[in-house]
Symmetry: C2
Subunit: 190 residues, 2 copies
C-alpha cells in the first residue's frame, strides 16, 4: 500500500540494522485516522470472506486490530501475554518465542471468546519471523474455529516468516513488505 510505504520512508528509522522504529505513528504514538485508512484496505482485501472475529495480541496489535474490527463490524479479541487474575475458566494458549525481546511467553485467550463456528481474521502490527501469528493460528485451531487469513501492517520480508506461512497455505496480506533495510535506506517488495 503506497501510503504506508511513503509514511515508513518519511517517519520510520532503522536502528541497529534490524529494528524498524515506527513509534511515531504505529506503536507508541498512533496516528488513529491513518490506522483507520489502513484498516479500510484490509477490509477491501478480505471483504469477500465471512469474518466473525478479529484476533490480535497485546499490546501493539490492539490499535490496528480495533480499527480492522470496526470495519468488519465484528468483535476484537486480543491474546494476553501471560495468564492474569482476570482470565477465568478454560484458556486457549500458545507458547511464543519473541526474537525482538529474546524471551518466551504464552499467548492466552479465554476459550469463551473463540468458538468453533468463528471465522477469524488474525491481525498484528508487525510480521517478522511469524512466531506470533503462528501462535494465534494455533489458538484458533485449538478452539476448532477457522482462520480466514492474517493481515499485517508491516512485514519484514527478509526475515521469511510471512513467506513460510504463505507456503503452508495461510493467506497473509501485509500492507507493506520490506525487502531490505539498513540505516541508509529501506526497500519494499514490488
Amino acid at each position: 500500500m503506497r501510503a504506508l510505504e511513503e509514511r515508513i520512508q518519511r517517519d520510520g528509522r532503522v536502528l541497529g540494522g534490524d529494528i524498524l522504529q515506527v513509534g511515531g505513528f504505529i506503536n507508541q504514538q498512533i496516528d488513529t485516522s491513518f490506522t483507520l485508512e489502513l484498516a479500510r484496505e484490509v477490509f477491501s482485501l478480505f471483504s469477500d470472506l465471512p469474518v466473525t472475529k478479529v484476533l490480535t495480541i497485546e499490546a501493539s496489535g490492539i490499535a490496528f486490530g480495533f480499527a480492522v474490527s470496526l470495519q468488519f463490524g465484528v468483535p476484537l479479541v486480543f491474546a494476553k501475554k501471560s495468564r492474569t487474575s482476570n482470565v477465568d475458566g478454560a484458556v486457549l494458549f500458545a507458547p511464543i518465542h519473541s526474537f525482538t525481546h529474546g524471551n518466551d511467553y504464552n499467548a492466552t485467550v479465554s476459550a469463551e471468546y473463540i468458538k468453533p463456528e468463528d471465522n477469524v481474521l488474525i491481525v498484528d502490527d508487525f510480521l517478522a519471523n511469524g512466531e506470533a501469528l503462528r501462535g494465534l493460528i494455533k489458538i484458533v485451531n485449538d478452539a476448532g474455529a477457522s482462520v480466514v487469513g492474517a493481515a499485517v501492517e508491516i512485514e519484514k520480508g527478509f526475515q521469511g516468516g510471512g513467506d513460510r506461512l504463505r507456503s503452508e497455505g495461510i493467506r497473509v496480506e501485509s500492507l507493506a513488505i520490506i525487502e531490505s533495510m539498513s540505516e541508509s535506506g529501506i526497500t519494499f517488495r514490488r
Copy 2:
C-alpha cells in the same frame, strides 16, 4: 452513562468480591462499535478543551484510547509497562503499583511523544485506586505538558481513587461509577 451501566449489568460478572469481569465487551473481547459510542460521550464531555494528545497505558487502555483519539482527531500515545528495546532516547516514566496484579512496574513513554505545548487527555478502561492515572499524570507533568483531565470507562467508586484525584483538582470523568458490588449485584453512583 446509562448504556454502559446497562451493559455492565447485563454482561459483567463480579468475581471474588472485587474483580469486575467485563472481558466480553471491554478488555479481552472488545465491542468496537460500542466503544466508539463511549468515546463520543467522552468527546462531548471534553470538547470545550484544546486536547492535542490522548495518553493511555497498555494493554487494556489502548482500545478505548484509540476510539477517543479518533473522536478528537489527535494522536494516541500509550505508555508501556517496561522499558523495551524499541524505546530509544529520553524516556518519561512513573513507578506504578498494581493492586490487581500485586506488583510494581514502570510506565514509560518516549519523551519525543509528549511535548511541553501538549494538552493531554488521559484515558483508561478502569479506575480503582488511581495508581495508573496518577503515574500517567506524573509523566505528563514531567514532560512540562498540561493534563486536561482523565476519562475512564468504569470507575470502582468504592475504592476511592477517583475521588482522591478529584479532590486534588483533576477533572475525572467516568462513564460508569460503581458504588458497590458483590456477586449478588452492582449498584451505580447517581
